[in-house]
Symmetry: none
DNA sequence: CACTAAGCGAGACGGTACGTCAAGTCTTGCA
DNA sequence: TGCAAGACTTGACGTACCGTCTCGCTTAGTG
């Protein structure tokens, strides 16, 4: 956990309970799912975790940080990218992976809220980047390197371009999925993921035609 | 304003002050820019607008709705799409238009916050859609119809596909710009907009190569 | 009540509830009697008075001031000195009057506590003086002036001496009764009051002899 | 110290540090003087005494008892009555001795506070009596027995009367001095002590006249 | 022109959550 | 076992904001 103290100075006194840490994070996720971001209170979390409010504040500066770390735990356990053997399928896999997270009520209700809070709090922004965003970006980078190894994508000419392209692709994938799920409030199902993957691979001009060639079936929907 | 009462029943009594409406919305934007979403209070808005707190609650159900309407006013005055004569340029225009809004502190700090609130409040979600999202989407639709008129994009085979494609493209554009600006917290400058437009038009495979052909200059950045 | 606002400026807005004031003071006395000074909490008072905690803090800066005003109300309704026709009887009357107050559990538990708090808070000290001590002192002054009118005590030669003597006599009477009741924790009954009055009138040397001349009876005790 | 463990059972394990006891009491007095009763915390005492909080609780049941014992230490080192050769002077000596203690900030701020606490705690009341009040009363008794030995006061006819008178005189002296110092918040100087002694010896009627005969000078004040 | 039905500013009100603090207990490791 | 360090539970603290209310006043139309 990012708030863990350095163990350089051999700490004295009673050590912090690791079980409490786990209980608090779990309670936060549960309360978030039930009550939503603005309904979440520190006292409620404390009660559910069977822990005193002071224990919360000893470990996290406030609600924002606690929620970021709790969301991070969800990302940590859910994000993975099985090698599906092809770029298009890997792409759909990333999209599905992101979308699955955004279906969780605790993520739906809290992710954008902490992003909004972070606009006025650089430390929180860094925490979000380290704990959440970078974890997602790693998935995208993994997919690209696999595609390049397979020869589906050309290798980057130089590291700077590589980074710039990676950032762009990541913003496109993550941003689009988030917008679909949270703003447009539409399901991210297999059909949509396929459409999105096709658009990403072939660009706008290829969009309509290909769709026409492979009409969807009802069973295509999740 | 979307909360305006129906004029069917010819209202009696003293009419509401239109000046107050304007002052409140302006005060909300200003306070949002200075204090951020979570620092914004109804009392503060009332004070700045030189209005009583009761006047606020007489017109808006709460903070969420007041902010959505205030944000909507900003979108209304800023969003436009001058015809630049080509799809790529129109695309860049839409991106720049969205990005310009996301540079405003009141939008940065509040847009994602109300989206987050809306996850648990369908009425608020509808309000956001009507007042903000549909206004953005209209821009994207306008760009597509222009491109189709010019022959740069094929006409849609049927209305359902047209709607599905429009939704997808809109989520890609709006989502990507928002993610770049608010989550990645990087500037949406001309160079990035050009990269993004190229990706949208030609797809992933075209990305690296084209970039290599047209190396950027320093003056290209905003 | 000493915190009442001046009515010079014609007050606007909703007026404060006088009933709330009364309920709060009554609740404070009751809670003090049941829970003692250190057991008294603002929340408990608020609950008993069926009033919000904020209402308490809107009217009193804190627990100390609330308690002083509540004690003052008790003093106001209890302190009086019926004219008994003679100095000795008047003296006993004052003693009994003070003692009766000190038998009330809310006074027992709180009077010395606020005095202790006041050692570090001049404003609180002034409040105690105005609301409580001066009320007691007025009784002593009344007794003296009656005695002087009857010729039982000589008139004071000058105002300064008069004030100094009054202060001294007051400290003797009030201090002694308080010490007997709260520190020695012994009852202030009729017999003790008579002993004390005799000591005050005749001094130490007269103490033992007179007691011997007028042996007490069981009915003499309160 | 009244909390000292019995040495009957030959105690095992590491013995308690006597130095810690002294450091704690000293730290309590110092903290009391600086922070006042309500500002005093166990943690602060522990820090100042360079001792763990647990050590405090191992030796005293709580804050009240710790403070009583610390005040008792002050009384123990300060209270004494040099034989001045006459009743009036001895009386003034007792008054001055009490007053000197009440000038100490730790006593001013804490004495009445523990008395107030004691109204709801018989054990604390007993502790105060044994550790503080009886020590003061011994001084008064000593003064009386000297006066009786000198013939300035008549011997008591019987032990019961002796005790009753002693209690009364003690309440008068201690109560008056405390009231002057803490409630009226006026200095207990030589002039006031002389006035008080005169009143005690001759009673109320003698008060005004004698004062008139011996007008004070400025140098008479402390 | 008076009546009347709102609107309006000021501020009290009952609530709820905040983040802090103190009391007193418990846990660890060292002496 | 004593002790230092410090985590822990409990619960009060005082503040801030919420959304509602009460009051005295103003401002249109309507009768």
């Amino acid at each position: 956990m990012s708030h863990a103290p350095f163990r350089d100075a051999p700490r004295t006194g009673r050590p912090r309970s690791a079980a409490a840490d786990r209980a608090i994070v779990a309670a936060t996720r549960q309360a978030l799912a039930e009550l939503g971001w603005s309904g979440l209170t520190m006292a409620e979390v404390a009660t559910r975790a069977k822990v005193a409010k002071t224990t919360l504040y000893r470990r996290w500066p406030g609600k924002n940080e606690l929620v970021v770390d709790s969301l991070a735990a969800v990302f940590e356990e859910h994000l993975e990218l099985p090698d599906s053997g092809g770029l298009a399928a890997d792409l759909a896999g990333v999209v599905r992976s992101f979308a699955a997270l955004l279906e969780l009520p605790e993520i739906r209700t809290a992710l954008m809220a902490v992003v909004a809070e972070a606009t006025r709090d650089p430390a929180l922004r860094a925490r979000i980047r380290d704990a959440i965003v970078d974890r997602q970006k790693a998935l995208v980078l993994l997919g690209r390197s696999r595609a390049q190894a397979r020869g589906e994508l050309p290798p980057e000419p130089d590291p700077e371009t590589a980074a710039r392209n990676a950032d762009l692709i990541f913003d496109v994938i993550a941003g689009t999925v988030v917008h679909r799920a949270l703003v447009s409030n539409e399901p991210v199902d297999g059909a949509w993921a396929a459409d999105f993957a096709r658009l990403l691979l072939t660009g706008l001009t290829g969009l309509t035609g290909v769709t026409g060639l492979a009409p969807r079936t009802a069973t295509d929907r999740r």
